[in-house]
Structure formats: C-alpha cells, structure tokens
C-alpha cells in the first residue's frame, strides 16, 4: 500500500550530492515505497535545498530496523557530546 504520509521539517546544515556540497534547509521523512531499496516499504529521508532545484537532494531509503538504529545512534552521539558544545 501507499501510505502517502510525509513529515516535513526545516533543518540547517549541509549535504553532499552528485554536484558536490550544498546547504540543506528542509527534510522530508516518510515511510512508503522506495525507489531503489529492495523492500516494499522503507523509511525514506530527503535532505533538500528547494531553492536550488529538485536535484539538490541527498536521499536515503532505510529498512525500519536500520532507521531505528540510526535514530539511536544519533541520540547516543548527541548525548555524548562534551558539555558546552551544544
């Protein structure tokens, strides 16, 4: 099934695409059919700079298990940051 669901957030940072580095201002997060991953549904994240056009995108398609592991790794990394850096 198509879920059609998309979470959109504003972000600040940079990503590297086929044309090199670019700033990312937006992200879309959705669990739906992937384009490339060998699974029927994946947790997909697009890091975007809409102002630079549709190709200013870094995309990942992750299994649900991988996505949860990534969330834990990100949280663990941020929690281990030395005081004063965040």
């Amino acid at each position: 099934m198509c879920t059609y669901l998309t979470e959109k957030i504003s972000i600040s940072g940079s990503g590297k695409g086929p044309s090199g580095w670019f700033r990312v201002t937006d992200a879309s997060v959705y669990f739906d059919h992937p384009v490339h991953a060998p699974a029927e549904h994946t947790l997909n994240i697009d890091f975007l700079d809409p102002g630079a056009g549709p190709s200013a995108r870094v995309a990942v398609e992750l299994t649900a298990e991988s996505a949860r592991a990534l969330v834990k790794a990100i949280e663990a990394t941020l929690e281990s940051v030395p005081p004063g850096l965040l």
Binding site: M1, Y4, S28, H33, P38, E40, G53, P54
Partner: protein, 250 residues
C-alpha cells in the same frame, strides 16, 4: 505480429490546459488501434512504468504515461520530482488534477492518426486508485485497476486522504468495464476492500472482472521489487491483454 513502435518523451495538454511531460509509446501499425493511458505509481514517472508503457505498444496499442509530478519539478529526474512533490505537500495529487491530466492523455491518444477512438486506462498502486478515479470521471472504454488502495475508504485521522470522498461512492458513474487485479495478502486494498468494491459494482450493474491471487500481495507486477510474484504476474498480464483486446478493439 508487427511490433515496431516509436517511444519518446512528449508534451501533452493536461489539467487546466497546461502543458505537461508524458512518455508515449506508439505502435507503428497503420491501425486503427486502441489507446491506453498508463498511470504511474507513487514513486513516480519511472523507468519501470516506462517499460510497462512500451510493453503495451509492443502489444499493438498506443500508450502514454503522463508525468503526474511534472508541475512540481519540470525537467527533473523522476525520483527528484517525486521528492519535490512530497516536499511541496502535493502528494497525494488532488483528484481533480489527476482527472485533468488523464483527460489530456486520452485526447492525445484519440488524436493519433492510427487511433480507433477507443481509450483505456491502467494504473498500479496509487495509480490503480487513480485508474478507478479516471473511469468514474471520464468517458473511457476500458479500465484496469492493479491493486489500487483507498478506493472504498479513507485512512484514519491525520492522513492526507482524510476528507476526500471515497471513490466507491461514484461507482454508478463508472463509464467502462473494469478489470481488477489484486493480491490476497495485500492490506490496501484488503480482500474485504475488494469484496466491498465488487458488491458496489454488482449493485450498480457495472461490467467488471476481478482476480485475486493467492500468495501475492501489493505490487506483485513489479518485476524488480521483492513483492514480484511471477505466477500471478504472468496470469495478470494475460488478463490485461484479453481485457484490452475485448474492449479496445476496432
């Protein structure tokens, strides 16, 4: 059978008279032949659906697939266009706009010199729902719904389809015979959804034929997906050829 074709990206006039990109695969038979509008799935106007479009041309039809995300990202690669449409909040594409794009594609097909004037529609996944949408909204000659979800019902609260009129309510307006191809292991449409739609078609005296495949779920026709089920897909393709052969013939 003479199977030469011409396949290329073209521009058609879509919803509101706007020009949009489409992929056409036309048989080079002198005709007259029928035409088929192919509606791509949610991941977009992709290589796989272009292959499906060419397969129909190789089978003796004129086929065209409108790019439903062209407006959000003209000239972009299909996956980037899908992502742009998501980021702009237009997935799902409004039904009125889809109907306009399909109407434009159908007009293109009817205008071809080898056309017999008959046009069908086929779609997969979200495109299956949209094939049903087109068939209850436009004068067509045949329709094929491949596992289109959310025809009968809208999902629970907070879903972007919430508030949209269930298409099953428009069954009385179905303009053409409908072939439905489903997987028993699918959850949207579930076997109960398929049964409910079948009851509505019966109640309104519509011509239809449904096939639900054991051991198959959603997207069983997708040859490069783990959901691919060769036995179901081979039978489904035969049903498609028979359906279009019956209702789109000269």
């Amino acid at each position: 059978m003479y199977d030469a074709m011409l396949a290329e990206s073209i521009t058609i006039t879509g919803h509101d008279g706007d020009e949009i990109e489409a992929y056409a695969a036309r048989t080079l038979q002198p005709g007259p032949v029928g035409g088929v509008v192919v509606i791509h799935h949610l991941p977009g106007y992709d290589r796989q659906t272009a292959e499906f479009t060419r397969a129909l041309a190789a089978g003796g039809y004129n086929a065209v697939m409108p790019n439903l995300y062209h407006r959000e990202a003209p000239g972009a690669s299909p996956d980037d266009a899908m992502a742009a449409a998501r980021a702009k909040g237009v997935i799902p594409i409004p039904d009125e706009r889809v109907v306009g794009e399909v109407a434009g594609a159908a007009a293109y097909l009817r205008g071809l010199t080898n056309s017999n004037g008959k046009v069908g529609v086929i779609g997969h996944c979200s495109g299956g729902r949209q094939a049903f949408l087109a068939a209850v909204s436009l004068p067509l000659d045949a329709a094929v719904d491949c596992y289109g979800g959310f025809v009968n019902r809208t999902p629970p609260g907070g879903h972007p389809l919430q508030g949209w009129q269930p298409l099953i309510d428009k069954t009385a307006s179905l303009s053409c015979p409908l072939l439905g191809l489903f997987g028993v292991e699918d959850s949207a449409p579930s076997p109960a959804d398929v049964a409910e739609l079948e009851e509505a078609l019966k109640a309104h005296g519509r011509t239809y034929e449904f096939h639900s495949y054991e051991g198959a779920g959603h997207a069983f026709l997708g040859v490069d997906r783990p959901s691919y089920r060769p036995e179901a897909a081979v039978d489904a393709w035969q049903r498609i050829w028979t359906w279009f052969g019956k209702y789109l013939a000269a």
